[in-house]
């Protein structure tokens, strides 16, 4: 790789200590995001998409969460080892996040202006202070960028006075107000209506394109990913099972889970609905050994039950964690197998 990636997650494990035992959620996640790149992180509910990104921002409460292994490099420094003060600088100027539910992300008792002002003050160098008027002027700019009508008046409004689409635009404005290098968008359109989601996603796309911000788009919608990202990583039960350039993944999905997921999406052209994937996502308390997908996999082999498949490089930027593709792997740039998580707890 010629340039150093902006974000480089290496072999990340995240576990949660709960009453019934230990939930082994992330099981060796590897993901790199280069500057300006738009990466989609797709998976079903509970696949670990949000946990991964929360680990990056270090907003997972520890305990119950613990990170026994793994590194997360952002601009060359390991986020997991940073002091509290330094991580506060990464959040905001380095990485910011848009959440799924804008109603929950905004504080209902503060005006939009107060919340936007707090974001902007946080992004200032330590010794710089702004007058109230300057702060207000600076707060209007991001709101204008997200095409909100009458931003001046909006600053004095409270979240409950806005519609869902407007609230999400405010959240986008806040996230981009500090000009971050990486934006994590966690299901930014899911809580909105289809036509409004379309607007918000187009707006987001234009803004990040203009600023050349890198984006990690977390979503469960394959359609959204296809339309807005350069590269996709598919997650299942705490692992990235397949990663490829978007066009390639949609043209030739290789992992049985990806294939099942794609077939399960109802098509606008009709032709009926596939039965989906049998079974359900395993619990993290006692995940299956070997490949975590093997109990639901139509092509399961003996090796799948005992060993965790490494990532096989099957083409330019296309890697897949499945033993079916062992033979097709090009010269082994395999990411090291980390079966430790399960084996020790058998």
């Amino acid at each position: 790789m010629s340039t150093m990636p902006l974000l480089d997650i290496r072999n990340l494990h995240v576990q949660f200590d709960v009453f019934g035992g230990r939930l082994r959620v992330l099981d060796g996640v590897n993901l790199a995001v280069r500057a300006g790149e738009k990466v989609g992180l797709v998976g079903e509910t509970g696949a670990g998409k949000t946990t991964t990104m929360k680990a990056v921002l270090r907003v997972l409460p520890q305990p119950p969460a613990r990170i026994p292994e793994g590194e997360i490099f952002f601009e060359g420094q390991d986020v997991l080892k940073l002091s509290h003060r330094k991580i506060m600088n990464v959040r905001g100027q380095g990485i910011s996040m848009i959440f799924q539910d804008p109603t929950a992300a905004l504080n209902p008792v503060f005006s939009i202006g107060a919340q936007m002002g707090a974001v902007i003050r946080h992004s200032l160098p330590d010794n710089q202070r702004l007058s109230k008027r300057d702060l207000r002027e600076r707060s209007v700019i991001p709101l204008k960028e997200v095409a909100l009508a009458d931003p001046e008046r909006l600053l004095d409004s409270f979240p409950l006075q806005l519609s869902g689409g407007m609230r999400q635009r405010v959240c986008i404005a806040m996230a981009l107000a500090t000009s971050p290098k990486l934006l994590i968008a966690d299901e930014p359109g899911t809580s909105l209506d289809v036509t409004i989601e379309d607007q918000v996603l187009r707006l987001l796309h234009d803004l990040v394109e203009k600023r050349n911000t890198a984006v990690v788009l977390i979503t469960h919608s394959l359609g959204v990913v296809r339309e807005t990202t350069d590269r996709v990583a598919v997650m299942y039960a705490g692992n990235i099972v397949e990663e490829a350039p978007t066009a390639k993944l949609f043209a030739s999905p290789l992992h049985p889970y990806t294939q099942g997921l794609m077939a399960a999406v109802p098509k606008l052209t009709g032709g009926g609905v596939s039965d989906g994937i049998p079974g359900r996502m395993p619990t993290y308390l006692n995940p299956p050994t070997g490949c975590r997908f093997h109990p639901r996999c139509p092509h399961v082999m003996d090796i799948c039950k005992s060993e965790k498949p490494p990532h096989y490089q099957v083409g330019d930027g296309h890697r897949v964690a499945c033993f079916l593709h062992e033979g097709h792997a090009a010269t082994g740039e395999n990411v090291t197998t980390q079966a430790g998580g399960e084996v020790e707890n058998l």
Binding site: E44, T45, S163, G165, M166, D193, V194, T195, I196, E197, D198, Q199, L201, H220, S221, L222, G223, V224, R226, E227, F250, G260, L261, M262, A264, V265, P266, K267, L268, T269, G270, G271, G272, V273, S274, D275, G276, I277, P278, R280
Partner: protein
């Protein structure tokens, strides 16, 4: 095919407050504002719309959870609203409903057996409840030992299957499906949809299928009705609907769907870029309620609410573009 359900000029208004302290001048939400449609025996009518468009209110009114403000509904020639809240049992058993969130529509303190027995007890006291429960579970491909489980032991998909079995218990002719799969993941969705389609064939069931997912709708419904702010703006047969959508809102809705292949992208007939906000249902714009977002808005749209225009049998849209003698062709060429 004959009309199983006929809804005519149905209105449901909710009073949500008053403009003055004396209780005069009520503030009303016109959740459903004069809608008419029919459902034939054995047919699936898809009711599509965004949140707040009145889809669920329509469903709840038909099933009898709400009393209508005005309007009529007939099922097999019997007036659904004749006796107010006291709808006769024989009519209740004909129309059943499956709710969106199976987590909250099944009583957590009851076993599946108890859940499935209640409708049997009420509507079919003559049957042997145990054998009938087993038969219901078989119908939905679940093993009989599920009877003794509690809802929390089941996955989301299985819970929804139980909700379907409960709806089947009264041997209805119409089941209202209120977003039956939107709380579930796509990999589970297919199984439930295919189950519903199989049951429809087996028992000649009619479905009123409520959803906001047009891609899903494409695969299950025979006809579609599109709702926007309490009104139906277009009704059409499925094939025709996707080939030749007329109402600007329908076109916007179709253009906005994220799809997973180029083929599907091609299947979207017209591109209308989505703009504007959905107005609050408390404060619906005068005239055509879509005029604030419509790319083809004319002066008349701001004052007069358009009437339904019929294009072919079964294809209707409510838009001034068609009533004012405009060439309907102009709309397809943006």
């Amino acid at each position: 095919m004959s009309d199983l359900l006929e809804v005519k000029d149905l209105k449901k208004y909710f009073v949500i407050g008053h403009r003055d302290s004396l209780g005069r001048e009520p503030i009303t939400v016109k959740a459903v504002d004069s809608i008419s449609f029919t459902v034939q025996e054995g047919e699936t009518l898809g009711l599509v719309g965004e949140s707040g468009s009145g889809k669920s209110t329509t469903a709840y009114t038909i099933v009898g959870m709400y009393q209508p403000t005005l309007g009529h509904a007939n099922a097999r020639g019997q007036d659904l609203f004749a006796n107010g809240k006291a709808r006769p049992k024989s009519l209740r058993k004909e129309i059943q409903i499956v709710f969106q969130d199976p987590g909250s529509s099944l009583n957590p303190r009851q076993t599946i057996k108890q859940i499935l027995e209640l409708p049997l007890r009420l509507h079919r006291p003559e049957v042997d409840r145990l054998t009938e429960t087993v038969r219901l579970l078989e119908l939905v491909d679940l093993p009989p030992d599920y009877m003794y489980k509690y809802p929390y032991m089941l996955s989301g998909g299985e819970k929804q299957i139980i909700a379907v079995a409960r709806a089947l218990a009264t041997e209805p002719s119409l089941i209202i499906l209120d977003e039956p799969t939107s709380a579930l993941d796509v990999s589970v969705q297919g199984k439930i949809i295919n189950l519903l389609l199989r049951l429809q064939r087996e028992f000649n069931l009619a479905y009123l299928f409520i959803t906001h997912d047009l891609s899903l709708m494409r695969n299950v419904a025979h006809r579609v009705a599109i709702m926007y702010l309490g009104k139906i703006c277009e009704v059409a047969d499925m094939e025709e609907f996707f080939k030749d959508p007329r109402h600007p809102y329908t076109q916007m809705l179709l253009s906005s769907i994220p799809v997973t292949s180029e083929e599907e992208e091609q299947a979207k007939p017209v591109k209308v870029v989505s703009t504007g906000e959905i107005p609050s249902p408390v404060d619906v714009p005068p005239g055509c309620s879509f005029h604030t977002r419509c790319p083809y808005v004319m002066d008349i749209c701001k004052q007069v609410d358009p009437e339904m225009t019929q294009f072919t049998t079964g294809h209707m849209a409510r838009c001034h573009l068609f009533t004012e003698g405009e060439q309907p062709e102009t709309i397809g060429q943006s």
